[in-house]
């Protein structure tokens, strides 16, 4: 279980994340929304060990991991993807996933098998041998998820993995994430596509100017006037009605 206790991260005079507290239960799908620059990705960077928080604590299963480096966070069962995908461009898709699998497995042969399983799960078989840089953005996003899955996380942080996908790809991604959730994986999802978020998230946290301004079920969030003001806009509410 992940718990954030009044986490603050500043860059010079700018408070990117200010006193954000939240918790994600095991196996839960938690959504994080907010306008651009609200501090969503910075929050992911703090949770996943890329930035130490200036104040507050990050607790994973009750243990303070605020200053634990990123690679150890992954070993503890929390993996993240990047908004601007970071494939190992010159390696094949399968090798990309296998490098993820090698975090839990010491044998290359076993990791290769595990990579094939995850690639099939993410329906990337047809592209397994292609260099990652040659894949279009939709497939690169899926590869990003596959690679993270291969590390066998209990909690997966997804940073806009649906942005830029076409309708078919979007549907496939939602199906995949639901299936993973069904197998017990916890997810924290940053996303701007509200339709997908409404279908996936059990609970949504709204960030604005680095602060948490609302938290609740998707239905409650879309009716919250502060959230409508800060992020969703009147059009969303009217279209939804």
């Amino acid at each position: 279980m992940l718990e954030l206790d009044a986490v603050t991260k500043r860059f010079g005079g700018l408070t990117a994340v200010g006193k954000v507290s939240l918790r994600a239960s095991p196996g839960e799908i938690l959504g994080i929304i907010g306008p651009n620059g609200a501090g969503k990705t910075t929050l992911f960077n703090v949770i996943s060990g890329f930035y130490p928080p200036d104040e507050g604590r990050v607790l994973l299963d009750g243990r303070d991991v605020s200053h634990v480096p990123a690679h150890r966070i992954c070993a503890l069962g929390l993996c993240r993807t990047f908004q601007l995908v970071k494939p190992f461009g010159n390696l094949s898709a399968e090798d990309n996933v296998m490098i993820g699998a090698l975090t839990r497995l010491t044998s290359v042969a076993a990791a290769r098998n595990e990579a094939r399983r995850v690639i099939a799960l993410c329906r990337l078989e047809a592209f397994a041998g292609a260099p990652a840089r040659s894949l279009p953005i939709g497939l690169r996003k899926r590869l990003e998820v596959a690679r993270a899955l291969a590390t066998k996380p209990r909690l997966l942080l997804l940073d806009e993995v649906m942005a830029g996908l076409n309708a078919t790809e979007l549907g496939e991604m939602v199906t995949l994430l639901r299936r993973l959730h069904g197998e017990g994986l916890g997810l924290i999802i940053i996303e701007h596509i509200m339709a997908a978020m409404m279908r996936l998230a059990q609970r949504i946290v709204v960030l604005h100017h680095g602060e948490k301004i609302a938290e609740g079920t998707p239905e409650a969030i879309t009716r919250d006037p502060r959230v409508v003001d800060a992020y969703l806009g009147e059009e969303f509410v009217l279209a939804d009605a």
């Binding site: 690679h71 993996c79 993240r80 970071k86 490098i99």
Partner: protein
């Protein structure tokens, strides 16, 4: 033997050459080709597999050369012992350089490594009491395997061939092992590697230190073969560039690249020196100009080097044949 065909051809040819050719000039060229191939392979461990491009690897080469030469002249120690001490010292230096790799990226790292090799050059050429200063150290010739003295060049061919095979084996390990794949991840994208649980900083330091130790071992053998250690040569930037150049032209991050690069560059240099040495000095340095042009052409047109380029062609042909 899948994937080792090129190695079999190159090292097999090297092993058979002394049976056919007895000419000292050719055998000397062969020894140098294998030697520079081996050092370039050692460089490749850091520069190719870990993506830490150093232009100061002569520092480690010189450490190996000096350790054995000084221990032999001062304490009459076996060069093998000197090689071991050199490797330990180079590992220590490699850990420091590797630590720098986590602070400095790309060109800044390369500049720091140049500075490091030049600091060692200054120490070696000024510290007369210990290193004999700029005069250099003649390596005593004592026949025998334990003292690494062979009158016959044929023995040297097989000894240096053994070194080349050892370096080749290390590189193949880096292509197929867990740590090798993890290093590839670090080289491609360090943030992503860390997010996937790879201790990237530690891996980089270890790779640079291992590369340093191997380079130092090559330095020891080279000094024993040549019989003289000149600080201005073993710590030179020229030498560092040679290690990088062989590898980049042959194929950076490929196990045979450094050897293919060395075959081309070393023979070319030998040929050009022999050809232009008579022309009243005016064209003696022409091989440097040709080096430069080659490097530009390779980086521009075949950035993955000769081995990478031919490898792709062969794979493409294989696919057509199957289709």
């Amino acid at each position: 033997m899948r994937g080792h065909a090129l190695a079999l051809v190159v090292f097999g040819a090297a092993a058979l050459t002394p049976l056919v050719l007895h000419d000292g000039f050719f055998l000397d060229s062969l020894i140098l080709i294998l030697m520079w191939g081996a050092v370039s392979g050692a460089w490749n461990v850091a520069g190719g597999y870990a993506g830490q491009v150093s232009l100061g690897h002569s520092a480690f080469f010189g450490i190996g050369a000096y350790s054995a030469a000084l221990m032999a002249t001062r304490w009459n120690a076996s060069p093998w012992l000197g090689m071991l001490v050199g490797a330990v010292v180079a590992t220590g230096a490699g850990l420091i350089i590797g630590y720098l790799a986590n602070r400095l990226k790309g060109p800044y790292f390369a500049l720091a490594t140049i500075a490091f090799s030049q600091v060692l050059l200054i120490v070696a050429s000024r510290w007369r009491a210990f290193t004999a200063g700029s005069e250099g150290v003649p390596v005593p010739f004592r026949p025998g395997l334990w003292t690494l003295g062979f009158a016959s060049k044929v023995s040297w061919v097989y000894l240096v061939l053994g070194l080349a095979l050892a370096v080749y084996a290390v590189q193949v390990y880096l292509e197929r092992s867990r740590v090798g794949y993890q290093l590839a991840g670090v080289r491609e994208d360090e943030d992503a590697a860390q997010a996937l649980g790879i201790p990237s900083r530690r891996l980089k330091v270890v790779a640079v230190a291992a590369s340093a130790a191997l380079t130092s071992g090559c330095g020891t053998l080279w000094a024993q073969y040549v019989g003289f250690v000149d600080p201005f040569y073993v710590f030179s930037v020229d030498l560092s560039i040679r290690f990088a150049l062989n590898t980049i032209i042959g194929g950076i991050g490929t196990a045979m690249g450094p050897f293919v690069g060395s075959i081309l560059i070393t023979s070319l240099e030998t040929f050009l020196r022999a050809t232009f040495s008579d022309v009243r000095g005016g064209l003696v340095g022409i091989y440097l100009i040709i080096y430069g042009c080659l490097l530009i052409l390779v980086v521009r047109f075949i950035p993955r080097g000769l081995v990478g380029w031919f490898g792709e062609r062969f794979r493409a042909m294989g696919l057509h044949a199957r289709a």
